[in-house]
Assembly symmetry: C2
Homo-oligomer: 414 residues x 2
Amino acid sequence: MEYKITVMKNAFYAQSGGVTSVINCSAYGLISKFKKDFSEANIYASKNGIVGLLEGELYDLSKTKKPLENLLEMPGGIFGSCRYKLPSLEDEVFYKNLFDQLEKLFIGYFFYNGGNDSADTCLKVAKAAEKFGYDLKAIAVPKTIDNDLAVTDNCPGFGSVAKYVATSAKEASLDIKSMCKTSTKVFVLEVMGRHAGWIAAAGELANNAEETFVHKILLPEVNFDEEKFLNGIEEDVNASGYSVIVASEGLKNKNGELYSSNSEIDSFGHSQLGGLAPKIASLITNKLGLKNHWSVADYLQRSARHISSLTDIEQAIAVGKAAVTLAAEGKSGVMPIIKRVSNNPYDWQISEGDLTEIANEEKTLPKNFISECGFRIAKEGITYLQPLIQGESFPKFYNGIPIYEGLDLHLRKI
Amino acid sequence: MEYKITVMKNAFYAQSGGVTSVINCSAYGLISKFKKDFSEANIYASKNGIVGLLEGELYDLSKTKKPLENLLEMPGGIFGSCRYKLPSLEDEVFYKNLFDQLEKLFIGYFFYNGGNDSADTCLKVAKAAEKFGYDLKAIAVPKTIDNDLAVTDNCPGFGSVAKYVATSAKEASLDIKSMCKTSTKVFVLEVMGRHAGWIAAAGELANNAEETFVHKILLPEVNFDEEKFLNGIEEDVNASGYSVIVASEGLKNKNGELYSSNSEIDSFGHSQLGGLAPKIASLITNKLGLKNHWSVADYLQRSARHISSLTDIEQAIAVGKAAVTLAAEGKSGVMPIIKRVSNNPYDWQISEGDLTEIANEEKTLPKNFISECGFRIAKEGITYLQPLIQGESFPKFYNGIPIYEGLDLHLRKI
């Protein structure tokens, strides 16, 4: 007679930083795989990122009755996210408390789903666990619309916002084209991207060999030359009757300072952006006297699950699942990354990245992705971007709008 | 032996005013039906609204080879639109020239696809034809995202923008909900609607019996009470942790003047960059100190064919077809209108409206559509709005974005 003795530790999962339209797809991949591979353990999702753990509020996912597949169609972070900077490892009291909290639920796996700042959080937790002797595997799961994580070829969340931007810019361009004879001649679409122009670059994907829908792209990587820009706009309007601009919120002036700044500062010391589009529009009105319109996509772009990229969804699920595999292998301080195997046909696989090379790093657009004039994306950039927006996966609609049903969440206070 | 003698006059079709994501569906309905019912006549589409006629530039649709069905998936006005006010009937030279232009192509049917101003244009042409003895049937085809045309129950173009606003507001709301614990607590989405709040009202459709996604709607019909609004936002944030606002660009202050105007000067002596959303956001920052984000949908909302309402598409096609029927009946100075037959199940039919009752009129939200507090839509309003956003008709995608192929257009100069 055999006795099977299993001491499987439980898992902690949290969403962190700005959310995306597919972060819940990573949650799906991770939770479903953990439930399968660690069938005798439980997984808890933290309410509002790591804050839920610190405040003792977690969701007990063993009690959830609705199908996990609902996560595949739900934008935002279903468990709540946070912007919260962990103290340095010197803060013994903080980390002892954190591990006490994990201990209460017998947690041995710490999954943290976020961007650069979250990779830093996860790395700190991994190091602290080692330092304070708590048995914990801390694994980051990549997510950011900004696509600025180092080591990974691209980031889940980006492909969908890229698809949204390319689609919206093309649609707006067809609108302006209709109106330009007697009315609006210039349209400015402001998109996110503090330091890296990946999202704005996706505007280039609106174009094809036959037709230009987006005429100018303003990137944080290229200091803004007002005169050259205004001349370019005039040329566009003379040639086509109109001009469409996709501008990154993080555009810099000729001195490399933020072109449009706002004094507010977030908890990581980043200034909160916004208001670039009206500033560019105002410049065009004042200097060229051309009638213009502008739009600020803001949260609409990163929550637009109704037009998410299927490739992005598949990659988001894959990194979630891979995190569980890394955990099972006993890894810590690592992150599943996406590796591009080939461009045509596009092929990718999941690999492993070291958090020390990822935390707080920022990957900007390589120079060869930017056209010589500085206002367009070069062929290399298009080759890189194009595969990431491929495929559609429309959500279910009810009564005219997406359902976005979500899960039943059962809070466990500790 | 019989001889069939046919002297079928040709038709003129033009798109006018701000375009929509489904105005080309009306073009499809009209052109395809005209080609069928008036098979021996030709139809010309004016380049850039009536301006094309005046400047002698029209597209000869008999030469178009691509399938007209391409129009069903294409946002913007494929033939180009215009904002152009016709002179009064006293201007004999203008109208004689206009009819000379029509005469050159043997045109007996004048179809004008637009909103209130365009109805005025069409009515003037109808009256001028009568006054100057030119044999012409002038028929308007309704189109406006603003939904503010009199007589018709609703306007083609509106249902799609309503679907976009309800969907986007719901998505952004899920995003804010995720972030509100440690970050953004208020989100403002600015939508179009200068004098009528129909589009903003559609934000209410994001909500359902179980959950509130949109907490406040700011309408041009309700003078803005800052204090009451700020109290309401505080209540939302206290109750739910966050608040989502859908605001009409045409919001008025307590004196009934436009709340957001460009006349203000900032501390650098520059005119304020404008935009209602940043102004509301700024108010919230200054008075409540709550972190907020804002978005201005602008042209994105009215060109978003990727999320058009199927009901809207069907109605846009139907009014196009009905215009041809009215022409065949020898009517002039009229417009096909949509008549609501029943709410549940929603049923509608096409009827006929007199342009003298439509031109330059504006239909605002009825009082009973607005909740008592002034910040929400009442049940009567929801009952009216809900059917208009029903059904999806996603466009074909290629390489990650909608194709929007359009037609081959063949210019004929006269």
